[in-house]
Structure formats: structure tokens, C-alpha cells
Symmetry: C2
Subunit: 334 residues, 2 copies
């Protein structure tokens, strides 16, 4: 074992070389499976390494090889079920390819999204960016300096992106409500400046244009339980027969709040969510929603990143269509 000046003692490639009676380069070659080394010698080296419980320092390798075998994932909120699923799918897919994942939570802050993307990129081989708040022009600028980068639910420049088609999915939800006879609908809006909210508003605008008999009123809300619960009174006062929530969290908050006021779901009010988070099927009644394949989104994001890492051309943006999942929280209009 090599003793170092700080007193620490660590097994290095030199120790293996000494024990096997070969040079450093031979150890390196043998351990990396380089076929130019004599099989018998290679065996001897591997034995020595095993005996010393040696593994090459990832940091030293990273420096010389120029790659860290690690990718960064920047998400807006680790507390949000959707990003948790994305992270989970991504993490498992990357692990299957022997890559590690550095996570960073930007705490819903635009500044953090920008800064973290840069700082995490420097210590990894690429960054998978989930930055819903960052203005488009900033994103465009940022992406250039970050390559390789994969975007989730956004597009910018040449960067590969994987996204869920929020707009089409929302249209499907609106059509479901319309078929059920709902003509007065309220939409509980998310963060005003977010891309996700814009997509939903676009779908609504289009739908209303095509269905003049239907009115969709917007209620400013938020993205979490509390926001949904707080909007309960406004929803009941609106006289609408159906409420379309920005996401499942909002829908569940609303569900909980209006039921406490004696409102029956779906008899008095239909509620529809978005995302199909794991809990959506366990509410009472179970929540109708659009199933965003978040884990799959994460896995696909990794697949894209791996392509980039292997030097492939950035593929076409991948779009997954959330699947309308009808459960008990929606029914015919009163």
C-alpha cells in the first residue's frame, strides 16, 4: 500500500504493478482488457489486483479519459411526483449502462436552473435538463454551452428532447368531458409563465373555438394540493359541472376540499387531473386523468443521452402521448 504524506494509505496501480512484478502500463492494460497483453501475465496482474482489493480511481481515470461516467439531472422539485418518476426511470436506465447520476433540485427557481445546469455539467459528461421555468431565449443560449444535453418537455436548438404531448392529452380530456355533456368547465391553471401551462391553455383555446357551446373559465391556482384545496370555493361558486385541474395534485386537493363541503363526485362535479401520479387511482373516487409516462420519459431521456455520448447524431424529438385514463371522478353532467 502506498503511504501518502497526509498519512492516508491507499492502494494504487503502483502497488499492483509491484506485486505482479510488471510495469504500470501493463497493469492498466491488463485491467482494461487490452488484448495486447500476454494472457498469463494478464492473469497474474488480475490476481494481484484482486489480492490487494484494487480498483482504479474513478477520479484519476476521469481526468485522463475526459469522461466521468456520470450524467447530471436537473429537476425543478424533487418533491414533485412527476419528476420523481422521471428521475427513477432515468436512474435505472443509466445504471443499466453503468452510468452514475448526479441530481440537482433547482427548487423551482429560474436562477438555480441556470446555475445548476452549468455547475453540474462541469463534473459530468452531460446534463439532462428539466427546466420548465427558464425563458426560451435563455434556454437557447444555455443549451449551446452545455452539450451534450437532453431536454425534458422543452426544445431548444439541436438538443435532443423527450416530451409528453400535454396539448393533445388535454384535448382528449376536454373531449371526454364534452361527451359526458359538460358545457361549463373550469380550468385550474398552473404557474402562469410555465411552458406546461401554456400548452394546456393552447389546447383549451383550440377546443373552445371548435365547440362554441362550451365555456371554459380559468381560475388561477397553482401546482400543489394546497392550491387545489384553496380553489374549492371558487370552483363551487362558478357553477361549473366539471373541473379540469392543472395536475393530479391540484385535482386531489380540490377533490378533498369540495367533498368536505358535501359536494358529491362525480354526481355534482366531475374532476379530472393530469399526470396519473401513483396515488391517482387510490383517491375516493379514483381520479380520471391523463397518464403521463414519466418513468418512460426518464428512460428515453437517458437513451438519448447515451446516443450523444456515443457520438451519434441527435435524433428527432421524441413525443410520448399521455393516455387518457378514465376512472370514477368523472361522470355525466348533472
Amino acid at each position: 500500500m502506498t503511504r501518502r504524506n497526509d498519512g492516508t494509505t491507499r492502494v494504487t496501480i503502483a502497488d499492483v504493478a509491484a506485486r505482479a512484478g510488471v510495469s504500470l502500463s501493463t497493469v492498466s492494460r491488463a485491467l482494461n482488457g487490452n488484448p495486447t497483453v500476454d494472457p498469463a501475465l494478464a492473469e497474474r496482474v488480475k490476481d494481484a489486483a484482486a489480492a490487494l482489493d484494487y480498483t482504479a480511481s474513478p477520479v484519476a481515470r476521469s481526468l485522463v479519459l475526459g469522461r466521468t461516467q456520470t450524467v447530471a439531472v436537473v429537476v425543478p422539485d424533487l418533491g414533485n411526483p412527476t419528476f420523481q418518476e422521471v428521475l427513477r426511470g432515468l436512474s435505472r436506465a443509466a445504471a443499466a449502462d453503468d452510468y452514475h447520476v448526479l441530481v440537482a433540485d433547482s427548487a423551482e427557481s429560474v436562477d438555480e436552473e441556470r446555475v445548476l445546469a452549468g455547475t453540474t455539467r462541469r463534473r459530468t459528461d452531460g446534463v439532462i435538463l428539466c427546466a420548465p421555468r427558464l425563458p426560451q431565449d435563455e434556454l437557447d443560449r444555455l443549451v449551446g454551452g452545455l452539450r451534450p444535453v437532453v431536454l425534458i418537455n422543452r426544445t431548444a436548438g439541436e438538443a435532443p428532447s423527450v416530451r409528453a404531448d400535454y396539448r393533445s392529452a388535454l384535448t382528449a380530456e376536454l373531449e371526454l368531458l364534452h361527451e359526458l355533456g359538460h358545457r361549463r368547465i373550469v380550468y385550474l391553471a398552473g404557474a402562469p409563465r410555465s411552458v406546461a401551462n401554456a400548452a394546456r391553455l393552447a389546447a383549451i383555446a383550440e377546443f373552445v373555438a371548435e365547440h362554441p357551446d362550451t365555456e371554459v373559465a380559468e381560475i388561477p391556482c397553482g401546482v400543489d394540493f394546497e392550491s387545489g384545496a384553496s380553489a374549492g370555493a371558487a370552483v363551487l361558486a362558478s357553477g361549473a359541472t366539471a373541473a379540469l385541474a392543472f395536475n393530479d395534485l391540484v385535482a386531489m386537493g380540490l377533490l378533498s376540499a369540495v367533498q368536505e363541503s358535501g359536494c358529491r363526485i362525480p354526481a355534482d362535479l366531475s374532476i379530472i387531473g393530469f399526470d396519473d401520479i401513483p396515488f391517482a387511482r387510490y383517491t375516493t373516487p379514483p381520479l380520471t386523468t391523463a397518464a403521463v409516462p414519466a418513468a418512460e420519459l426518464g428512460a428515453q431521456a437517458w437513451a438519448r443521452m447515451r446516443e450523444l455520448l456515443e457520438g451519434a447524431e441527435p435524433g428527432e424529438p421524441l413525443t410520448l402521448l399521455p393516455e387518457l385514463t378514465v376512472r370514477g371522478s368523472t361522470g355525466p353532467a348533472a
Copy 2:
């Protein structure tokens, strides 16, 4: 910009030195705030660095400094709300101290727990280990080679640990049920060999010994929704007036299943969970549970790790007491 043989072009400390007309060491010193450098010179260096948009390579620094400014977190399942919260609390706490977090999901596998702990440790400065499945003797052995390491919900050797007192919390839950008049209770058990399940069984055994009038039957179950839902029939058939679920997921699955069978909660059956995951308060009726401060657990785990990193002595194991949170899913026995 330094051109390298692979065609890449990257700004190095040499470029900054050249532009500022000083040596590499001066750049290093100036940029690291070393006070032995002339203020005017330091300014010049910083300007040069800014002009070139230079930041020192974290990998190179890691190699020479012997620290990566990164810690690893190994969790059994990124899909489990409790670990998600732990990760979130940890991630934010570490970020506040300018540390990065490498996550690894062991996919509930003992082998993975063991392997990941080692591989992630090598590329970080320490590991925070959440390994509920690993047998104690293996954990003891592992921890020695991993230092610095912080354990979550386990103890081993000298390693600092932060844990929730599952046992006391479960006792509190049992007492609540007893006060409500419940004498026939079923316990939906978690993974048989897990530490968490053992703690609950210990609390139950103790409680039963002290309350001979009360019977607590164990039903093998699991740790997720589906398990809880599947156990519904068995719970109803047991004739118990209250069900104690291994965790909130199980409780929610059960809640959902028995309600579909027409069972009224809490009139016909009281249900009590464990963890107080974010959704627990939004079920119908809201779930009585013990609030495990998971995010706080994560933050405290980081605090311990930071102490170790700063060379402090490992402190006493920290134990947080989950708080009994009474909501609508419990009521007087029928």
C-alpha cells in the same frame, strides 16, 4: 484557448495565466482567494478568468485535493415516497453547503445495496446509506471500508446514524386504538426480514404483553398499494375493528379496497398508516398515521456527513420521534 489533440478546445488555467501575464500558481492562488497574492494582481487574474469564462476543472481539483465535493446517497427505491423525501431533504441541505449529490437506487436488492455503496463511495467523499435489507453482519463489515458513512434507520459500528423511532411511534398508534376501544386489531406486515418490520413487531409484542385484553393478529402483506388492496378481504374476514398498516401506501391500498366492498371508514373499520406521506392527508377520509420526518431525516443525515467531512467526531445516533397524526380514518370501535 488550449487546443488538444482530440480537437476539443477548452479553457484551462494556462490560458488565464497567459492572458493575465502571470504564472499558473498565481492564477490558482488568486482564484482560490489566497490572501498572499497582491490585490491588484488578483484583480487582474480574476478579470482574465471572467473574460475567458474560466472555471477550474472540478475533476482535476478532485484529483489533487483528494475530495470531490460530492456525496453519494444510496436508497432502496426512488419510487418510495419516504426515500424521496429523505433525498429531497438531503439534497437541499447538501446543496446549501455547496456539495453535490450522486444518487443510486438499489432497486430493493441486497446485492445492489452492497455493490452500489462501494462503487459510489469511490467517486465521492462519503456515502449516506439507506439499506434496510442488508443483514446486520454484512452492514457492519461494509461500513468499515466505506468511511465516512452515515446510516439512515440503521446503526453499525462507529458510523453516525439518524433514524426515526418506529417502535415508539407504533406504540403510540396502538395506544390510540386501544383508547378508542379497539380490542381486535390486525397488523399488515411489511417485508419479513426488514429492520423496519422487526421494530414494529417488537412494539406490538410489547403492547400485547401489557394489554392482555387486546389481540393483534398479523397478516403478511407487503409495502405498497397493491399489497394493501389485496389484503382487504383478509382484513374484513378477520373480524378486526382496526387495521394497522405497515405504511401509508399499504393503508391507502386497504382503504381503497375495503371501501369498494361497502365498508365504511372509520365506522366499520379504523385504519391507521405509517410515515405520513404527502398524500395521507388527502385520502377520503384523511389517514391517521405517524408522521415520520423524512425530509428532516435527510437534512440531519447531511449534517452528520458534513461533520465527518470536517473531521469531527461521530456524534451520538440521532433519533427522531414520528408524531402521531390523528385524522379521519380512525374512530371509536364499533
